[in-house]
Symmetry: C2
Subunit: 159 residues, 2 copies
DNA sequence: GTCTAAATACTCGGATACCCGCTGTCCGAGTGGTCCGGG
DNA sequence: CCCGGACCACTCGGACAGCGGGTATCCGAGTATTTAGAC
């Protein structure tokens, strides 16, 4: 899994902790965690396409959360960055080679058993991530370090 | 996830369906599903290192299952091919940049909340794969197409 | 003083190189089988 | 006929290229602000 996922989650959490609706520029967001500005900007565009962020151009522009943190799951973020493909990709090799040629019994309607089995793992992963909203992670973050919100606000020049 | 995982699972299943302990050469295993021989051989070596297969060199040599199919989980196969790393890699960017520098409150002992949250998804995925053994998939495969075992045996020149 | 309009500075957005890891291929090391010669 | 040794064919194992996607970077399109000028 690409680093962009970690970057996106932290960035979204920072925006959630700021709370207000003032846009924050890509440069500021990247500076918050010392990330390469231009590439991070590219990831933010992916989040905009996925409708997790809204962008406003021009001076005083930047990015805002498109929805409340309790309606954005970690799965949403992962899919926005990685694309909505599955972890395991079935190539249907069961239909190739000698075995594929000799195979005749099963009807072609049923999906490959290997595919089904691997997809069960995929579904478990997705459900676990979908169950966790940004607001949940934000709460945990606050429990670990109650001063984190103040720190973030200060890092972005608020207060 | 790399294709090698799909290849490895099908190959192990084929060996399980053959049942006997006669070694099968890398070339035959690859021909079973029309895979590139040399590269597939490379993957088989990974399975040997993970102690899922045993290899015997020389003429009449090849690969055999190292354990019973009911003691090999899909997770074992995935980790053997992909390495035992986690899906989500935490880079600790929370400690970098402006926010990292200003952050002081939380004790360094607790892991990043984002890391913990993502690892929950990782654990769910691993558990779902660990719960499914090769024998289970083999049974499903046999239900979908009762003639599959015969087909595989024939494809490998048995009977 | 106020309205208008142009210049400006700052932002996002997409097009362009770079690099690491999966993919694919090759050849060498090692082993068991086989064949030939001798007893 | 039986035994021993050398040859050989076949196997795995690791070392060597090729390519695609993530990574990183730059420059152009667009907009709100600012500012200068005219009324």
């Amino acid at each position: 899994m690409s680093k962009g996922v970690e970057w996106a989650i932290h960035t979204l959490l920072n925006l959630a902790m700021l709370g207000d609706d003032k846009p924050v520029g890509s440069a500021q967001l990247a500076a918050g965690h010392g990330l390469p500005v231009a590439y991070h900007n590219k990831q933010l565009q992916s989040l905009v396409k996925a409708e997790l962020l809204t962008s406003t151009p021009g001076p005083r522009g930047g990015f805002r959360l498109a929805r409340d943190p309790d309606s954005i799951s970690l799965l949403d973020v992962v899919l926005a960055i990685e694309g909505n493909g599955t972890l395991f990709r079935c190539t249907e090799i069961r239909q190739c080679g000698k075995i594929g040629e000799l195979s005749t019994g099963g009807d072609g309607s049923t999906a490959c058993a290997v595919k089904r089995a691997m997809y069960r793992g995929d579904v478990a992963w997705r459900e676990a991530l979908a169950a966790q909203k940004l607001s949940d992670v934000q709460k945990e973050l606050d429990i670990d370090d109650p001063s984190v919100t103040t720190t973030v606000r200060r890092a972005f020049g608020r207060d």
